[in-house]
């Protein structure tokens, strides 16, 4: 598995956000995308995701939750593509005990066990984020794309959950805003500045000053 961008211009619609982007994500990479707000991190993440082949999981920045449904339903959404329409509609109305158990197991990993019957609309920001994480974990696959997946959690909890998420996928691409966290969990940092890739280096031996330049 390899996702490659070669001198590409990326953006939303006709407006270019990033120019001349050349980047290759290889199997086994754990990439942290970094840069100031508006630097184009989400744009790059989306471009990589669109070019990824095979089964991918996603943790969207806005969590992508359906408020009117329960925690169970929002987590099980990760599995919808595995089943036919009839089964999916049955699950929507009446989840089986086995399905509930599977979801409960993954909820336990994010610390939300016992809450699967709760309506998502009634959860706090941090809990909502953990539901989105649980969905990606339940889905599984070769690559996970996560956009600020632990921004509403405290650093210790965030680190643990990120490790747990990354451990499940061969390749991870994440937008992170916490420099320390990126250094602790990622294996490679891609920094964006001035509308292009300004930094692409392994975390091992990476100077903090170089990282901080992205935010200068």
């Amino acid at each position: 598995m390899e996702i490659a961008l070669r001198s590409e211009t990326l953006g939303w619609g006709a407006e270019a956000v990033l120019r001349d982007v050349t980047l290759t994500v290889r199997a086994g990479d754990c990439v942290a995308l970094m840069g100031r707000s508006g630097a184009g991190k989400s744009t790059l993440l989306r471009a990589l995701r669109e070019r990824a082949a095979g089964r991918v999981a996603e943790v969207a920045q806005d969590h992508g939750l359906v408020d009117a449904l329960s925690v169970f339903h929002n987590v099980w959404m990760g599995r919808l593509t595995d089943h036919g329409t009839a089964r999916n509609l049955r699950t929507l109305v009446r989840p089986s005990a086995a399905e509930r158990a599977e979801v409960e197991a993954v909820l336990a990993r994010v610390g939300l066990d016992g809450l699967q019957r709760r309506s998502v609309g009634a959860l706090s920001g941090g809990q909502r984020q953990r539901v989105a994480l649980a969905r990606a974990m339940l889905r599984g696959g070769a690559v996970v794309f996560a956009d600020e997946p632990v921004s509403s959690l405290d650093p210790a909890q965030g680190d643990a959950l990120l490790q747990s998420l990354i451990g499940q996928f061969e390749t991870s691409v994440m937008v992170l805003h916490d420099v320390g966290q990126a250094r602790r969990v990622a294996s490679r940092v891609v920094g964006l500045k001035g509308g292009t890739v300004a930094l692409d280096a392994p975390v091992a031996g990476l100077d903090v000053a170089r990282l901080m330049e992205l935010y200068a």
């Binding site: 995701r49 408020d67 009117a68 990760g78 919808l80 509609l89």
Partner: protein, 492 residues
């Protein structure tokens, strides 16, 4: 008090079931299939032989719509800046609470079958609606002028130009409604397509009746193509000329004075006793009429909700594919373009007199409208990259996400369905319209006025209840639907 959507839904379900139990839905017609096959044959082979009559009716349908909508838009625009004043607001609320057909029935006593009746029947309620919607637009329009600029100057320089595009769009939408109203006015005797349709149907000339329906669809479906704003003055001028040529039986002198005298309650006018009069009007007519109106509207609302929930995914490409969505759009647009009154008339011919045709027609028409608006919202939703397709998407994503809007839209159509339920009484279904029609025929205009007031009261009551429910569910008290044609917009 805060209500949960589920409880409100359950309440509506129970009320609908109760209405179902007491409703008379039995079809009296022995063989609906015979009529249905005859109509089917007519639709397959429409009969355009009466080309002159069709062309005249089509032209006049357009003319009434143009003049009526223009009247409404002009007066609405003039009233809009003063909409904040309570007397103006109440004037607008009361003229728009009376349906176009009821206005026509009233005006027939003053202006007779003259074209003015048709223009005013459309124009008066539309003026009330335009005033409200335009006032909302102007209130929301940005006012970049420095403070201290006077109200009139600010209105003309900033607010009016600022909301001109929305006002245009809305006027176009109203013109579409005006075409439907105009066609339906034929059922009370004005020379539009509805008149032709009714005549052909009564003579069992189903081919010609089908031709009427097809012509109407050919008129309304491509409306956004032929309605060119630069040509609007020309369209309007031709319409005025066309209407002025329409010959009509003359009204005797003093019709207005006679009308004004006749609407005074009989006990006041003739010194008759109040007891029997009140008993007649309220106990014998208004009460059963109200009950039937509410039964029809409840069943129609339930039907429309079910239809909308089932049908809206059918116009979302991610659910049914591109061609499926085109087909779904096609079916919905035809169903919602035909006036509900016309549908009810056709169903009545097929199914015989009971509440069923009225319920079916209102459910279909309103269900198609809700489904259309929901479908458009569904297409605008931002979905996850790994979102499913097909019915899974509809069940797991679209419906739960849009459920709030769905309830809001149903509640918004509720009041409209009640108004329409009263109106279908003119076709012989025993809702309030039936009793109003009966009294019109007996020239008891005082009773007509009382029953109209009851109708207005129910409509306003339902409107208030719908608002309260929406607010209690947190669906946004400031939810504005009419002016945005159902694009549920939060203003608060």
């Amino acid at each position: 008090m805060r209500l949960r959507r589920r409880d409100v839904g359950l309440g509506f379900l129970l009320v609908t079931l109760a209405a179902f139990l007491v409703a008379d839905l039995g079809a009296a017609r022995p063989d609906p299939w015979a009529t249905l096959t005859a109509i089917g044959r007519g639709v397959i082979a429409p009969d355009f032989s009466d080309l002159g009559g069709l062309a005249r009716a089509t032209g006049l349908t357009l003319a009434f719509a143009f003049c009526g909508v223009a009247f409404g838009a002009v007066f609405g625009l003039l009233l809009a800046p003063f909409y904040r004043l309570a007397p103006v607001r109440w004037l607008c609320v009361s003229v728009r609470a009376v349906h176009e057909l009821f206005w026509a029935l009233l005006l027939l006593n003053v202006t007779g079958l003259s074209p003015l009746t048709g223009v005013l029947a459309i124009g008066l309620p539309y003026a009330g609606i335009f005033a409200k919607v335009f006032a909302e637009y102007m209130e929301e329009a940005r006012d970049p002028l420095p403070p201290g600029v006077g109200g009139v100057a600010a209105l003309l320089w900033a607010r009016l130009p600022g909301c001109l595009p929305q006002m245009r769009t809305y006027t176009l939408y109203r013109l579409e409604c005006g075409l439907r109203s105009s066609a339906v006015l034929g059922f009370v005797g004005l020379p539009t397509l509805g008149f032709q349709l009714e005549t052909y149907f009564r003579q069992a000339e189903y081919g010609a009746a089908a031709a009427c329906l097809l012509v109407f669809l050919a008129l309304i479906l491509p409306m956004r193509r032929w309605m060119i704003w630069r040509l609007a003055p020309a369209y309007l001028a031709v319409s005025v000329v066309a209407l002025s040529w329409v010959s009509h039986p003359p009204m005797g002198d003093g019709a207005l004075l006679r009308f004004l005298r006749d609407v005074v309650p009989a006990p006041l006018r003739t010194g008759a006793e109040w007891g029997p009069w009140l008993g007649r009007v309220f106990a014998e007519q208004a009460t059963p009429g109200t009950a039937q109106t509410l039964i029809v509207s409840q069943l129609a609302l339930g039907g429309a909700a079910v239809l909308a929930a089932v049908a809206f995914p059918l116009i979302v490409p991610r659910v049914v594919g591109r061609w499926g969505a085109v087909l779904g759009h096609g079916v919905l647009v035809v169903v919602r373009s035909l006036p509900e009154y016309m549908l009810a008339f056709v169903f009545l011919q097929i199914l015989g007199p009971s509440l069923l045709p009225a319920v079916l027609a209102l459910a279909l028409h309103n269900g198609a409208i809700i489904a259309h608006l929901m479908g458009r919202q569904a297409e605008g939703l931002r979905l996850r990259a790994d979102a499913p397709r097909g019915l899974t998407l509809a069940g797991w994503d679209l419906m739960p996400r849009l459920s709030g809007n769905f309830v809001a839209l149903c509640l918004y159509r509720w009041e409209i369905i009640v108004r329409e339920s009263a109106i279908v009484g003119l076709l012989g279904v025993a809702t309030l319209g039936f009793w109003i029609q009966t009294n019109v025929q007996e020239l008891r205009l005082d009773r007509v006025l009382m029953l109209l007031l009851v109708t207005i009261g129910i409509t306003l009551g339902i409107d208030a209840l719908s608002r309260r429910l929406r607010a209690a569910m947190g669906a946004g008290a400031g939810l504005r639907i009419e002016g945005t044609r159902g694009q549920v917009v939060r203003t608060t």
